[in-house]
């Protein structure tokens, strides 16, 4: 970098880009190339020749069901996260509850949206696990045994979904609050002047404007939970067959018995999260048309 600028003055050869060389080298070596290596590996057989067999083999064994469970958990936790997060954000933005609640809620959301991982799994085990706070409370005071009476176990589909909500709801609150603040008072007043009820205003004005934001955030939340590894492993061990857990086992010990099939599985993960993220970015651009 030190030599870039003086050289530029002496020669016409542009060397300004050298200042970006360390960054470019780093991202290439530790982000782009490792990812490309996996992607290319997904389309190679053991001898290195091009093949689509690995992608086709994704449809064998337990792999389709693990993708399906992963997609179901991600979609459910994203949908519930959007719904509850939207409700909470709306409550603090439109003044249904005192104004001072908003700032602490936003700060908390900033923390909680970053708090995935092993400790989160233990927090939910301590609360909804077999001898957790809520489980014991319900059993002693109401005679309800979660597992027996409601069929709820923290180690199951719903257990993982509820745990994921701990970082999904805050992320929704963080992203949707600015969008809710962007709804102009004039629109509501104009609708009221034209004789619209509150329900009509929401159905015909506010929700259509917010729709791209909500759908975009849904896509982001989906990707967010699809790639979550640590929480799932600490919570369920290997009892729930989802993609990140299966991939984790594959990296550790080639449980599929075919390295290239492992690459294909990782490639599938990239495809799913990439689609969700592209959807998010596209919908965000659309949302900004109205909300500035």
């Amino acid at each position: 970098m030190a030599s870039a600028a003086p050289l530029k003055r002496r020669r016409p050869l542009p060397l300004t880009w050298l200042g970006l060389a360390p960054f470019a080298l780093f991202t290439f070596l530790f982000l782009i190339w490792p990812t490309l290596y996996i992607v290319i590996g997904a389309f190679q057989d053991r001898s290195g020749a091009f093949t689509l067999q690995n992608i086709a083999d994704l449809n064998t064994g337990t792999i389709p069901s693990s993708y399906w469970i992963s997609i179901k958990i991600s979609a459910t936790s994203a949908a519930l996260g959007c719904l509850i997060g939207f409700g909470m954000a709306a409550a603090v933005t439109f003044g249904a509850v005192p104004r001072w609640i908003k700032a602490p809620l936003m700060t908390f959301s900033g923390v909680a949206s970053n708090f995935a991982g092993v400790p989160l799994a233990f927090a939910f085990l301590a609360t909804f696990g077999p001898i957790g706070l809520v489980t014991v409370f319900l059993r002693n005071n109401f005679g309800i045994v979660l597992q027996r009476d409601i069929g709820f176990s923290i180690l199951s589909f719903w257990g993982l979904t509820i745990t994921y909500l701990f970082f999904q709801i805050p992320l929704m609150i963080l992203i949707i609050t600015p969008a809710l603040e962007g709804l102009k008072r004039e629109w509501r007043e104009a609708a009221a002047v034209l004789g619209a009820s509150t329900a009509q205003y929401w159905r015909m004005v506010a929700l259509p404007i917010l729709f791209p934001s909500i759908l975009g955030t849904f896509a982001l939340l989906f990707a967010n939970s699809f790639g979550a590894v640590a929480t799932a492993i600490a919570l369920t061990g290997s009892s729930l067959n989802i993609v990140p857990i299966q991939l984790f086992a594959q990296i550790r010990g080639d449980v599929l018995g075919n390295p290239n099939l492992g690459y294909a599985m990782a490639f599938g993960m990239i495809v799913v999260t990439a689609i969700a993220n592209v959807l998010y970015i596209w919908l965000r651009i659309r949302a900004e048309r109205w909300l500035k």
């Binding site: 600028a5 200042g19 490792p34």
Partner: protein, 264 residues
């Protein structure tokens, strides 16, 4: 605001707050139950005295500090250079820094293991030092979106071009400009990026576990299977560290506003 809307708002908010409060309460309560019948700090004192805990915790703290140092050295000059000389490259650099949020970390580390194994051109996983280095690079990659955005926001508030020219006319070289002019001016932004990096690295699981390094995250997961109360006490501590980091970020941001106000 109608009464109906108010009631709905309160119900939704209280339901949400209950959902967030219960797991934290459950975790704290459970971590205190190590002694039968009474609340005690037994689980905490036992785990803090555990040698493996001390080692893994120290390892993760060291890793976090190395990652922060490396992140600053990588991100500050890059963001500075982009602002000063190559504004056209900004969207591309920003895109690259956001990629770690798109590509799952488990996929990238899968690539590391295959790309930098003992029989490759750069056998990083062949030695302990190499693996530690690879892990630090991986953490830098994970923290890149947060670090870059923080530093770039910090640079936006200062006049990079004028400061650089002034320093150059006083005879400063690039190293001096970066370390003694630019860096002190964006310290609050760097600090908030650093604290977030710290919070991410200290409990990180996936990279450390797959690269088989003795870090705090994998240790916590492992003892979860064979110790009754200690993992919960450790989780409370991990929560506290995350909260402390976020509190320090708020403090750093307030400090930034304060110095700007004073400068005016």
């Amino acid at each position: 605001m109608s009464l109906y809307a108010r009631i709905t708002g309160w119900i939704v908010l209280l339901f949400g707050l209950l959902y967030f409060a219960l797991p934290l309460l459950g975790l704290a309560e459970f971590s205190l139950k190590a002694r039968r019948g009474v609340y005690s700090l037994d689980a905490y004192s036992k785990i803090i005295g555990d040698a493996e805990f001390q080692q893994t915790f120290l390892y993760s703290i060291t890793m976090a500090l190395v990652t922060i140092a490396f992140g600053i050295v990588l991100v500050v000059p890059t963001a500075f250079w982009v602002r000063l000389k190559m504004p056209w490259a900004r969207p591309y650099v920003e895109f690259l820094t956001l990629l770690p949020l798109v590509i799952p970390a488990i996929v990238v580390v899968f690539g590391y293991i295959r790309l930098y194994n003992t029989s490759s051109w750069l056998p990083l996983t062949g030695s302990i030092l190499g693996t530690n280095l690879l892990l630090a690079f991986g953490y830098t990659m994970l923290a890149l979106p947060y670090m870059y955005r923080a530093v770039d926001t910090g640079l936006r508030t200062i006049d990079v071009a004028t400061l650089t020219e002034a320093a150059q006319s006083l005879g400063a070289g690039w190293t001096t400009i970066l370390s003694r002019v630019i860096l002190p001016n964006v310290i609050p932004a760097v600090l908030s990026g650093a604290f977030l990096t710290f919070a991410i690295v200290i409990g990180e699981f996936t990279l450390a576990a797959l690269l088989d390094r003795p870090a705090f995250g994998p240790y916590l997961q492992r003892i979860g299977a064979n110790k009754p109360y200690e993992p919960f006490a450790l989780s409370v501590m991990a929560f506290a560290i995350t909260w402390a980091c976020m509190g320090l970020i708020q403090l750093a941001n307030r400090f930034a506003k304060h110095t700007k106000a004073a400068a005016r």
